[in-house]
């Protein structure tokens, strides 16, 4: 049983790790994402050079971005930086999960930030995407 607590700069530890739940990527997920970002490229609904439809490369980015929610109650935060390496196409039907490690935390101009390095992988261990993101924490 996970014990959740409010996220704060002091509570957060460099080296802390997070693991998301496993998500089954469905055609409906791809369709909803296409609507949300208004990107209806035919590769996402028909055929693609990879054989069959694929998902938007950034489809699972929120799974990674929300990693800290697996341990903390996060009322608000701002996303400051994002880096991706897209290693394999995301296909509908894949079961994917993200794992992340807090690699840094710092204060700049009085505002607290955390930096997380992550990978998103398929059930068979294939790495689909990896990257790093920086988030600003709100003080209450």
């Amino acid at each position: 049983m996970e014990q959740f607590r409010p996220l704060s700069y002091d509570a957060l530890q460099v080296g802390e790790t997070f693991v998301s739940d496993t998500k089954l990527v469905t055609p409906e997920d791809v369709e909803a994402y296409a609507y949300a970002v208004d990107d209806h490229h035919p590769w996402f609904s028909e055929d693609s050079p990879f054989g069959g439809p694929i998902a938007h490369p950034t489809l699972l980015a929120n799974q990674a971005l929300h990693l800290r929610h697996s341990k903390y109650i996060v009322r608000a935060g701002l996303h400051a930086k994002m880096e991706f390496e897209f290693l394999e196409p995301i296909r509908p039907g894949v079961r994917a999960r993200s794992r992340g490690t807090v690699i840094d935390k710092y204060e700049r101009r009085g505002k607290p930030y955390m930096v997380t390095e992550y990978v998103t992988e398929a059930e068979d261990g294939t790495v689909l995407v990896r990257g790093r993101f920086t988030q600003m924490l709100f003080r209450d």
Partner: protein
């Protein structure tokens, strides 16, 4: 599979821009409607100091992904990179234009070329909201 434009693009080439209208409904679908969310709870967004709900910054990475997939093709989906800094909020009702200019081509291995694109999003007032670079792989090693 890459586009003809990407195969021949020289540094300085401007990519066809994308225009994105930011509606609350699209934000809701992207972020999921929740209380205590600066994206989908207007009262909470105001309490946190914003004049309106914000689009998730990650939505701008999706727009850049679209720009690059249309330009580079499969070599962005597999082998692409993106590095973005989010410098200004994007609010519901904003209209973003997503730009890209080819910055560099370089050989990567014996058989591929990486094309690097400077990318940015700007709102209807011409204010840049996100800046960065993105890249993708093209078949052929001669940069």
């Amino acid at each position: 599979m890459s586009t003809l434009a990407a195969d021949t693009a020289a540094p300085g080439l401007a990519l066809p821009p994308l225009v994105k209208e930011i509606s609350q409904r699209k934000i809701d679908v992207y972020s999921g409607v929740k209380p205590y969310s600066i994206h989908t709870d207007e009262a909470w967004a105001r309490k946190k100091g914003f004049r309106a709900p914000l689009a998730q910054a990650m939505m701008s990475t999706a727009y850049v992904s679209e720009l690059m997939t249309r330009f580079v093709g499969a070599g962005f989906v597999k082998g692409g990179t993106m590095s973005m800094v989010f410098i200004k909020p994007v609010y519901v009702g904003d209209r973003l234009t997503v730009h890209g200019v080819v910055k560099e081509r370089r050989a990567e291995g014996n058989a591929t070329t990486r094309v690097v694109v400077e990318v940015w999003c700007e709102n209807q007032d011409g204010v840049k909201t996100a800046v960065g670079t993105a890249s993708g792989l093209l078949a052929g090693g001669a940069a």
